[in-house]
């Protein structure tokens, strides 16, 4: 845990011009502003940490610096001169090398071939030269790689070393590491931290992207925090040096999860919780792999009329939990109980009939068949069931009538029930799916990011409906990445990090203090376990 700043040269970092400058850069994608008017300067000899939640704009910024995307507004500069990075090779030529979050190696090729990737096809691989350079890298940075091994057979840590070695072989001036520790063991992450310090000592600028707070403090010389595409704050080397780890983490949490000034306060819902337990989860665990996080030891109790919120940075096992509850994901261990009945081995359809409903966050790919009319989509989960199917025959009239009722009751804006659902807006698809989940005797509804990607009006309507569902006595599990939403609706909030519940807190209306506590748990900084009563 060396304090990194001592490697900065005696010159004050603020007076030195940066290697790479980002000036007023904005990047839009359909429906979102991924990066909003961001200006940053990256300095030689510094590990500059870009910190932020998923969707904060980190990856888009990496894409812009590595030539995969071009900014809509603003520009980049190299050594004070304006520069355009129109392609990855332009970025490489400018001395910028990127180690992407997802491996950019060809698994079927050897290490040597991956190191020379991008060289003209007619040349012969410069094996002797690379072998000699690798010897140097081994001495200087402890990078040791078997040149003739097939990359797909190496560990993720070794694969990352190949990408770093590739950057060094190109004599890069700037090295970008995007979520570089996410695949590594704690030991591997520590080694990477030390290696980064060696690299900046040798004169590189390192840009280190992460969402882990402690890493930012331990390995970084300078920290910039991104929030919803905009720069939320920066901590300069002198400031960081003068802080203890706890102080720094507190400050970062404030920058990442604090309420922006000016945002109106969302009123907290009155609890409609009743005493009877509806759903009980005991020690649920699922298998994880390289792409999908597994969940471990999830225990939760949902009572009638209660909304339990699940907070967490996106991708920390929330979706897996929802799928495990709905029966869509096999369990390694654990037990699910609905109204006192063990439904652990029940199928998706059985759970649905017993009243356990799941509203997916993937409205188009998983939740509906875009080309089918609304009417078919309203009964997609009841194929073959009466009253829509009788004796194996579909009843189109009955389905159409049901769809018209649903459209009226949930105020879906659609030309008619025969319109393909894919033509509707996200908010209207959401209404149709909600209508479908509430059909018949629902007991528990699991919402996965119900307001994600909706406009403000639909967000309000959706939240209103979720309250109403709880009022009617149903139990609700509300998975969301929006803390405001959770704090407005939930009775209790469970915080997930790394596939586990880090803590369950009562939504006691303590506002800012609670928000910061949840933020720290989301970042894996606080292990706050409370009885799940």
């Amino acid at each position: 845990m060396s304090n990194a700043s001592e490697t900065v040269t005696s010159l004050s970092s603020e007076t030195r011009a940066g290697v790479i400058g980002v000036h007023g850069v904005t990047k839009r994608f359909p429906g979102v502003i991924a990066v909003n008017n961001v200006s940053l300067t990256f300095h030689q000899g510094e590990v500059h940490v870009l910190l932020g939640e998923n969707g904060a704009g980190k990856s888009t910024l990496v894409g812009i610096l590595s030539g995969l995307q071009e900014p809509d507004e603003g520009y980049l500069s190299l050594n004070g001169k304006k520069i355009r990075l129109a392609s990855p090779s332009a970025s490489l030529d400018a001395g910028i090398s990127t180690v992407f979050q997802h491996s950019m190696l060809v698994p079927t090729l050897t290490v040597l071939e991956n190191l020379t990737l991008g060289a003209p096809w007619y040349e012969r691989p410069p094996r002797a030269r690379i072998a000699a350079r690798m010897e140097e890298l081994k001495r200087e940075f402890a990078l040791s790689l078997p040149l003739d091994a097939i990359v797909g057979e190496l560990s993720l840590g070794q694969q990352q070393q190949i990408e770093i070695a590739r950057a060094l072989l190109r004599d890069s001036k700037v090295l970008i590491l995007d979520e570089a520790t996410s695949m590594l063991t704690p030991q591997g992450a520590h080694e990477l931290g030390e290696r980064m310090q060696k690299l900046v000592k040798s004169g590189l600028a390192v840009i280190f992207i992460t969402h882990k707070l402690a890493e930012a403090y331990r390995y970084g010389n300078r920290i910039s925090v991104l929030k919803q595409g905009a720069l939320a704050g920066e901590m300069v080397p002198d400031q960081l040096k003068s802080m203890s780890e706890d102080q720094a983490v507190d400050e970062i949490v404030r920058l990442m999860f604090g309420r922006e000034a000016g945002a109106g306060s969302t009123e907290q819902r009155n609890s409609t919780k009743r005493d009877d337990t509806v759903l009980k989860l005991e020690n649920l665990s699922t298998q994880g792999d390289a792409d999908v996080m597994g969940i471990a030891d999830i225990s939760l109790i949902l009572q009638a009329g209660e909304i339990v919120g699940v907070a967490g940075i996106d991708g920390n096992g929330q979706k897996q939990l929802a799928e495990a509850m709905a029966g869509q994901r096999p369990l390694n261990s654990g037990r699910v109980e609905l109204d006192g009945e063990d439904i652990t081995s029940a199928t998706v359809a059985q759970r649905r009939r017993k009243g356990l409903r799941y509203l997916t966050d993937d409205r188009l790919a998983e939740g509906s068949v875009a080309a089918f009319p609304i009417s078919e989509n309203t009964v997609l989960k009841d194929i073959g069931q009466p009253p829509f199917w009788v004796n194996g025959l579909e009843r189109p009239q009955r389905i159409a009538q049901h769809a018209r009722e649903l459209i009226a009751r949930f105020s879906v804006h659609a030309p008619g029930e025969t319109t393909p659902i894919g033509r509707l807006s996200g908010g209207n698809i959401q209404k149709v799916l909600l209508g479908r989940e509430l059909l018949g005797e629902a007991r528990v509804v699991v919402f996965n990011k119900p307001t994600y990607g909706l406009d403000l009006k639909n967000i309000d309507t959706s939240r209103q409906r979720i309250s109403e569902i709880a009022e009617r006595g149903l139990a609700v599990l509300l998975i969301s990445t929006d803390l405001d939403e959770l704090m407005a609706l939930s009775d209790r909030i469970a915080v997930m990090e790394g596939g586990r519940i880090r803590g369950i807190v009562k939504n006691d209306g303590s506002g800012e203090a609670l928000r910061l506590r949840i933020g720290r748990m989301m970042a894996g900084e606080e292990d706050y376990k409370q009885a799940t009563a």
Partner: protein, 311 residues
Amino acid sequence: MSGLLTEAFLSSLLTGAIVAAIPILLAGLGEQMSEKAGVLNIGIEGMMLMGAYVGFLVAFETNSLWLGFLGGILGGVLTAIVMAVLCVRLGLNQIVIGIGLTLGVEGLTALLHHFQFSRTYPRLPAPERLNIPGLTDLPVIGPSLFGRHLIVYLALIAVVVLAYLYRRTNLGMTLSAAGERPAALDVAGGNVLGIRVVAVLFTGAMAGLGGAYLANIGAGLFIPFMTGGAGFIGIVLAMLARGRPLWVLIGSLIFGAALSLTTALQVAGSNIPTDVIQMLPFAAVMLVLVLFGRRAKLPAALGAAYERGAR
């Protein structure tokens, strides 16, 4: 069946195997490069047919087989340009465009041929054959192996040259990267679309040459639809060969032998019914697919258009 192992039978079997093998060898080598680079080139059948048509026409008009081969290459490349523009540059569906291209060329060449020659099928003079004193005079294998047109030996040399390039230069690695993980090649500063275009055009050239061989050497004339699936057999060979040119050669000889067995058995006057004999090549194809179909290992990004930054 005792008369089967006669000199006439073996000689015609070997000759036929080589004559039938060369076009699918050329097509297979070409397709192999496309597939390595991630482009499933279904249009190869059309490229081959166009090569056969243009190759025949040029040879017929100029009386030069070599100009005919050049014409065949040109015809194949021109067809391949369409594929490269639509599937690589514009990222359209490779299967749809490939099938469309094949059907289009089939119709076009049949139509043009009909315009020019009505219902006659003019023939080219018999090709010159190589004559290596001593070797060509050997019994059985002499005329089959050493008395062929020079182009046969050039095709064999192509196997060696390609094997060398794939192994010893950055070509093989660049192609594999474009086919396995194009994004990795892109961010490493390579040119994914560039290498894919080169591979598709090379496929066109090889298929065109194969088609010209089929028309000018194999048959000595052009008949509409004459490739009769040779290009598709090339695709199968390329898929089974796991990126190795030598395996394409071996495969093409097996298929060639199966194809020529039909003729050879008839020459030998065996008493097996003709219908059964003519079924043999296809039975062989199915046998090979059943036996080795699982061996096929295809690049991960085969058939997928590459677009930078697409998630």
